[in-house]
């Protein structure tokens, strides 16, 4: 079974009690995305500026005159969170040189959904990390465009039913594999890339902390169960996140300066059916489809293990 990920700086006693992402927000009950964001903000602390892309997070946290943000926050559009963050970082840099802005370190975090990251925002993100801006980009991956009503994205997994990849006489749901966004970011050779899931809060907190402390661009990809879009009971969010990790559907790893390390090493993975059967979006799948998905997950996991082994020889 899964080992508990090693606990670095964060242990229960020293998790900051202060909620920088406020309790009062309009997210659905059991929203995994919000759990992840809340933890990232605890790791970030108050010396932080947040950029949000359009999407669930932005909508549930900022209905004027209310706001869930206790740090400065800005939303411009759907596809440009990384570019806005780049402008903020550059602005602060030059203002500091001219003694017009605080000398204290200010963390810049951009949050975007899987659509805002892997689809419409991939160009701005690629540009911003290639230029080396000092910021942390967090993709909250709930595997579809949830804010607009559960449409498929390139991050929707194979076989999932969404409103635009519906099940029908000629369709088994999403017919393409999930785009591997963390590896696309790793190919940019940025100093820090990691995957995380709020079901592993200490792992997530430590990765967020490390990402934010990184000088230069860092990318954190958070697996975010969504009861509304995945069609699961609201009290199963944490459990489903765990099943996703334990089955190898969403492995937790870190790539630090190009070196990959699995944080949750699974001696024996749970069968993917344990994960799939918890969610309405996979309900239509037949045993042969599940076998197919199992093969895909196995292959993906083996690839990671081999990469980890190769990387272990790196300096």
């Amino acid at each position: 079974m899964a080992e508990e990920p090693e606990r670095k700086q964060f242990v229960p006693r020293i998790i900051p009690p202060r909620e920088l992402f406020a309790e009062g927000n309009r997210a659905c009950q059991g929203c995994g995305e919000i759990l992840g964001v809340r933890l990232v903000m605890k790791a970030a602390g108050p010396q932080t500026i947040v950029v949000s892309a359009t999407g669930c997070l932005e909508i549930v946290s900022s209905s004027y005159p209310d706001t869930a943000w206790r740090v400065p926050w800005i939303h411009i559009a759907f596809e440009n969170a990384a570019a806005v963050a780049a402008g903020i970082e550059s602005g602060i840099k030059v203002l500091r040189r001219k003694n017009k802005y605080t000398d204290q370190r200010v963390n810049i975090i951009a949050f975007a959904g899987d659509g805002g990251t892997a689809d419409i925002g991939i160009q701005a993100l690629s540009g911003a990390v290639e230029r080396g801006h000092d910021f942390t980009y967090v993709c909250t991956d709930n595997e579809a465009y949830m804010n607009t009503g559960i449409q498929r994205s390139s991050s929707t997994p194979y076989g999932a039913s969404t409103t635009t990849s519906p099940v029908g006489k000629k369709s088994k749901g999403q017919n393409t594999p999930k785009k591997n966004m963390p590896m696309i970011m790793a190919a940019h050779e940025i100093p820090y890339v990691a995957t995380a899931c709020p079901s592993y809060p200490y792992d997530l907190l430590n990765k967020a902390k490390r990402a934010i402390a990184t000088r230069g661009p860092a990318y954190l990809h958070i697996f975010s169960p969504c009861p509304t879009g995945w069609r699961h009971p609201t009290d199963l969010t944490v459990e489903i996140g765990k099943l996703g990790v334990e089955s190898g559907v969403f492995p937790l790893y870190e790539i630090v300066d190009g070196k990959l390390k699995l944080n949750v090493r699974l001696e024996k993975r749970r069968p993917v059916i344990d994960y799939l059967k918890t969610q309405g979006r996979f309900r239509h799948l037949q045993p042969e489809d599940v076998e197919d998905i199992q093969r895909r997950v196995d292959a993906g996991y083996q690839k990671l293990l081999r990469r980890e082994e190769c990387d272990s020889f790196k300096e």
């Binding site: 706001t67 400065p72 926050w73 800005i74 780049a86 602005g91 203002l95 802005y101 605080t102």
Partner: protein, 391 residues
């Protein structure tokens, strides 16, 4: 003391941005704007300008980055044209809606298709309603001065809106003109460092860009429109101050031989130069022709415009852009409707010319005036006419 220098107008604009001490520049190359950002890159590389130049991967990101940098209180600049401006479209409305001051120079160029790198005004006319202040330069000096003035106007706390300075692609951007370059100290005195009323700062958290429900959206838009309308007074004030400091006076609408004119030509941008020569020629023949050149396009100077054309028999508006399936020229539509409520008003004729870099010749202006004379005589004309079309 200012010194007169022969400069390509693009480089003069870069000089203005440098003297304005822009702090963040985010821009992407596109003809005919490229010389501006190349020169600015060199200034930053040489340490002449202490700015962050963000070498974005697209104009959409250029505008997005300027929103971010303006929101932390940095003086922000970008320049673009045509397809680049069209790519920014979405974010332009957000920059003005969030009241983020910045300055953008647009080297006006036609929109594809067919692909054309040459000048006309169709790029900026598509952004007419984006909530930006918009100016048209005729000369290099105009372009230089407007760029510096635009920062001061945009950053005024009564305004807090972004500005576009329009420069005709090639016919203005790529010509060498004598430019009076002021001393840095004079510019600093006119344009002090930008102090935003609020900025993204962890010491004072603010939420910028929230969701606006139907209960408040209209009110926010009214505030924004009030600010744009209110900017008119600020523009006049700034031009007044500029004249006192630099000796050059600016008006929302420039007049040429208008006092006794019966037929007025209206055209924005650098083609007004040719129009002046055409007016001189027709005057020699005894025709009472004059010229008005709108420098300020947004906010539209309604009163000033109505006064400018009062007493004329006809107004011939020349647009370098075509509103497909509509009334032809966007500037003419605006002017026609501005005159509509008046009892006494000139007959308005509408001409489209100079599309995609086609020259507007002296002969074209003569054709426009004689067509307008015919309309005055016969009492009717086309909704609008394309000038110089090869049949």
């Amino acid at each position: 003391m200012a010194k007169r220098t022969g400069l390509e107008v693009s480089l003069a604009v870069s000089e203005a941005v440098k003297m304005a001490r822009a702090e963040v520049i985010a821009a992407y190359p596109i003809t005919p704007q490229t010389h501006i950002v190349e020169e600015l890159s060199q200034m930053v590389a040489d340490g002449e300008l202490d700015a962050e130049f963000i070498l974005v991967e697209s104009e959409h990101s250029a505008m997005s980055a300027c929103c971010g940098s303006s929101a932390v209180g940095a003086r922000s600049f970008t320049a673009t044209a045509s397809q680049g401006l069209a790519l920014m479209h979405e974010v332009l409305y957000i920059a003005s809606g969030l009241r983020l001051p910045m300055v953008m120079v647009v080297a006006n160029r036609a929109l594809s298709a067919p692909l054309s790198i040459w000048g006309d005004h169709s790029d900026v006319m598509a952004e007419r309603d984006s909530g930006w202040l918009q100016f048209f330069a005729e000369t290099g000096q105009d372009a230089f001065d407007l760029t510096i003035q635009a920062f001061k106007i945009s950053e005024d706390h009564r305004v807090l809106l972004p500005s576009i300075v329009n420069l005709d692609g090639f016919t203005l951007t790529h010509v060498i003109e004598p430019i009076l370059l002021p001393e840095q100290g004079e510019v600093d005195a006119f344009l002090p460092s930008y102090e935003p009323p609020s900025r993204l700062d962890p010491q004072k958290p603010t939420t910028v860009g929230p969701v606006g429900f139907p209960e408040i959206y209209t009110e926010v838009k009214k505030q924004q429109n009030d600010a744009l309308l209110g900017s008119y007074e600020v523009i006049l004030e700034v031009w007044d101050e500029f004249e006192k400091s630099f000796g050059r006076g600016y008006k929302p609408i420039e007049h040429y031989k208008t006092e006794d004119a019966e037929i007025l030509i209206a055209i924005a941008g650098s083609m007004a130069g040719t129009a002046r020569i055409a007016v001189d020629g027709m005057r020699e023949e005894g025709k009472k022709v004059g010229l008005i050149r709108p420098r300020l396009w947004r906010p539209f100077p309604f009163e000033e415009f109505r006064n400018s054309v009062a007493g004329a028999k006809a107004l011939a508006v020349v647009d370098r852009s075509l509103s497909f399936g509509g009334q032809g020229g966007p500037m003419c539509s605006e002017m026609r409707s501005a005159l509509f409520p008046l009892d006494e008003k000139p007959v308005v004729t509408s001409y489209i010319a100079g599309l995609g870099g086609r020259d507007i010749t002296i002969e074209n202006f003569r054709t426009i005036v004689s067509d307008t004379e015919r309309v005055l005589e016969e009492g009717y004309g086309d909704e609008y006419k394309l000038i110089g079309v090869k049949e």
